[in-house]
């Protein structure tokens, strides 16, 4: 298969020594196997995240995203934009949608971009070209093509597919339901592991940014998400979202203190499962980045 190229929007959390740097490591490994070339948008900026609304308002947020789209159109012309972070994807796509529907917002945005020598092309079709990495994997490759390079099937692992919110709503993956999306389970299966397909917390909210500002309330959410994975005898949780990954992984110790639980549940990215199944080392799958080590996956990688 020929190399597939995309304009890549990695997002703040993927940077070196940031909270999702391990995600990035595994995405690079996975893309090497699948022959995907990611052309980083030069000098991209933050999407404003969901929490940006309070101080950022509307136009400032759209302007931030429009700068990225403009840079992508200028430097990576004709390529779909791919984001690995759910919030980046949502932020960028939502801005494009809104700008395509409001002449005034678009005119304001163009005039602001023109001040710094940029311009953006936006119509109803532009939003379709802003995609999440799992969308690309499923639509441009398909499950069979994703299964083809598997060298070490993840046999004996039971995995709870935690889709979360923003990879799933409001845009989601074509053909999947919002309440019970199946694609993560299918990806788990294709990698040779067993999905915990009755895992009922798969689209529960982890609290998102409110994990910082309302820690007790968010940790109550996270407790349900982890507990149910135990109830379904899962060895680990897998997720496509950096916010979900961090929230569900790193607060387990605090939750143990509050609720006298004994959580020690690894939380990995789909790209880490795929990297290991494709034969990478634990380090190339970013597994040394897990706060809660996932020994069973490491064992397969080291086999």
């Amino acid at each position: 298969m020929a190399t597939k190229e995309y304009s890549f929007y990695p997002g703040c959390s993927s940077e070196r020594r940031s909270s999702a740097s391990n995600y990035m490591v595994s995405v690079n490994t996975m893309c090497k196997t699948l022959d995907i070339k990611l052309n980083e948008i030069p000098d991209w900026n933050c999407c404003g995240a969901s929490i940006g609304y309070a101080d950022g308002g509307e136009l400032p947020r759209h302007v931030m995203n429009a700068r990225n789209i403009a840079l992508s159109q200028q430097h990576n012309a004709g390529q779909d934009i791919v984001a690995t972070c759910a919030a980046c994807w949502l932020g960028a796509k939502e801005s494009v949608e809104r700008l395509s529907k409001s002449e005034q917002l678009l005119a304001d945005t163009q005039s602001i971009l023109a001040d710094v020598g940029l311009k953006v092309d936006i119509d109803e079709k532009t939003a379709g070209g802003v995609r999440h990495m799992v969308e690309v994997l499923i639509e441009d490759f398909g499950y069979d093509a994703l299964a083809a390079p598997v060298k070490k099937p993840l046999e004996g692992l039971k995995i709870a597919g935690y889709v979360g919110c923003q990879t799933n709503r409001p845009f989601g993956i074509d053909g999947e339901s919002f309440e019970n999306p199946k694609y993560l389970d299918k990806m788990v299966e294709v990698m040779g592991a067993e999905p915990a397909d009755k895992y009922e917390q798969k689209v529960t909210c982890c609290g998102g940014a409110l994990a910082f500002s309302e820690p007790e309330k968010s940790q109550a959410q996270i407790k349900d998400i982890v507990e149910s994975a135990y109830d379904h005898n899962a060895d680990m949780i897998v997720t496509p979202c950096p916010v979900c990954q961090m929230n569900v992984e790193v607060y387990q110790e605090n939750i143990n203190k509050t609720y006298a639980t004994k959580f020690d549940m690894p939380v990995v990215y789909y790209s880490q499962l795929m990297s290991v199944a494709y034969g990478s080392s634990a380090v190339d799958a970013g597994l040394d980045g897990q706060v809660i080590r996932t020994k069973k996956l490491e064992a397969i990688a080291n086999k």
């Binding site: 900026n45 509307e58 709503r169 409001p170 609290g207 309330k217």
Partner: protein, 206 residues
């Protein structure tokens, strides 16, 4: 006095719905709500909402301006988008919640000590200057927003989280001393300043 010189309260006296339609993100949708309650049952932090979305929409129509704008409720929105995918009338509820919070905040009527409001401000200040999130500064600013003593306590309570991230290479202690960010930060600051200016004029904040 012309209509444009008047403050929102004067201009829309007793008609908060019209004020919301004119100034709040996606506010023109509020009148479409049929009060079915599906959204209210969808919020993850539902118990913490004194007035869930359905109720806020009812209060807007009843012109309960002060109660709505001073409410902590919309600050409990986690941006989970459950409501949007479920509302039978297709209201963009998430955005209306964001819009109400933003409007209250810009008017200075939002609850001053609400933790999410304060975090959101720290977050925006963090990205608007350099163009990218500096996670190290963001967490420390948040812990220490109520002074050193509380800050040390909070940081201590979270120390295992921080140490875990540090050990696994997911937190950069040196980022504290580096401005970081994008090359085009001057351009971005200029763009944001103008965007604020235009939005302020359109929404009648100055």
């Amino acid at each position: 006095m012309t209509a444009t010189d008047m403050s929102p309260t004067e201009k829309y006296r007793n008609n908060f719905l019209r004020e919301v339609e004119a100034h709040v993100e996606e506010g023109e949708w509020v009148k479409m709500c049929m009060q079915c309650g599906v959204c209210s049952g969808s919020c993850p932090l539902g118990n913490a909402w004194q007035h869930p979305p359905q109720e806020l929409f009812m209060m807007i129509r009843a012109s309960k301006r002060d109660e709505v704008l001073a409410s902590e409720s919309m600050w409990m929105c986690t941006s989970c988008y459950n409501c949007i995918t479920r509302c039978p009338r297709g209201l963009p509820i998430t955005h209306i919640m964001h819009g109400l919070a933003n409007y209250a905040n810009r008017l200075g009527l939002a609850p001053k000590m609400n933790p999410t409001r304060r975090f959101a401000k720290i977050f925006w200040d963090n990205i608007a200057v350099t163009g990218r999130v500096n996670e190290t500064k963001l967490s420390l600013k948040l812990y220490f927003m109520d002074g050193v003593v509380t800050g040390v306590k909070r940081a201590f309570a979270m120390k295992n989280v921080g140490l875990g991230m540090l050990r696994t290479g997911r937190l950069n202690p040196f980022a504290l001393f580096r401005p970081g960010g994008i090359k085009g930060k001057r351009d971005l600051q200029k763009m944001l300043a103008r965007a604020y200016d235009i939005e302020d004029k359109r929404k009648g904040f100055n």
